[in-house]
Assembly symmetry: D2
């Protein structure tokens, strides 16, 4: 992991404190770094109807986009287990914006393109 | 609609500017007011895999929760059509936190309990 | 509840046996009756990434639609707690196809229009 | 692609005919083969609230699970563009049941483990 991301990892860990996870009891935090150098944090927000639960990674991205930031350099993920990787849904939402962003978890750094090879993309839809 | 929510409605309208909606071309904005008086805005964030799209209302709530605010007084919703109501999924996410919050759209004020009667809740799960 | 739906309720109860719910341990079953008189059953299918979990009600509808049936007369819901109502997301998916369908749970019969008043609909999108 | 999957691909193509996709106009079909040799088909089922749309791949799996089948050998995917790969959410739902299943699209055969490396899994949750 590039040393320059150590601060981002700390922010992901810090974001875990606001986790709303009464169902899984599994706290997750995320911090996304935009191309402009801004950081947005997220945490998981669960729901009694399990399928309406939302992951920390996507909350971080939704916050950034809603504030006008749509290009990402890297995301760090922290979790109760320490090694959780992003789920497929989160990978797809990252893919929408920054197919080559870095993703950091379990103390290692990956490219999103390694984590979601042959991605489904808007190109298929002819948008 | 209570006059005190006019500012909230304006913030929902303003939030539409960051809408990421290349698939529907339907811009939505939302602004949620917490019990403490803080406002968080959201906008819809779509995805090439349509099912991973997220509504403005939930983005606003996820932002608030991720910043430590989990009790809501009211939410205002603005949209390209001017009269869009929150979808059922957004109603359920509001229900998780504040079953009696106010929901404002189309120039009118509703209670969430009117919009999602006999709600599914965590009580059923014995959490 | 109309007596003619007693069989549908039984099918919803029977459908619970296939519930895949290792995370919530909350078994749900559903049975939807099409306008043509066909019945499709569903059960909840959960996921380690909680947000990818799916409710029984939507599984029943997705099955019907994928077999070419898109108009529904009624849905019965059964659950471990005996009284669970459909979540907002399921109400919205029912709304897409049959806004006036009957929804049966806790031994009572409702109209979807009572359970999801002022629904968000495709009309807002000008589809 | 193994010749033995040619029939499965045909069933995925055939399943496209029931696609409910008024919003994207993008028809998708899927066919999943269980360990027992049964095939379940699915198609995409969209919703006015885009986020409640469901992919063909998950519909096929939900159908199978709701009928008592939870182990999969292979899934074939067909789409209007001919080459669409499964989105990240669908890969995660496959992962829940059969991490090493085959996934066939664009005339090629992949292992799910190639398409979703370092997957998030229930193990992280200590279920």
């Amino acid at each position: 992991m590039d040393k320059k991301y150590e601060g981002l990892v700390k922010q992901a860990i810090e974001a875990m404190k606001n986790s709303y996870s009464p169902y899984s009891k599994f706290r997750v935090g995320a911090a996304v770094l935009t191309k402009e150098g801004k950081v947005f944090t997220g945490t998981n927000v669960e729901n009694a109807s399990y399928g309406l639960s939302m992951c920390a990674e996507r909350v971080a991205i939704f916050k950034a986009v809603s504030e006008g930031y749509t290009e990402f350099e890297a995301m760090a993920i922290a979790s109760a287990s320490g090694d959780a990787s992003p789920c497929g849904a989160c990978r797809q939402v990252m893919q929408e914006f920054s197919p080559n962003m870095k993703v950091i978890f379990a103390g290692k750094e990956f490219s999103l393109s390694e984590l979601l090879p042959r991605p489904f993309s808007g190109g298929s839809l002819n948008v």
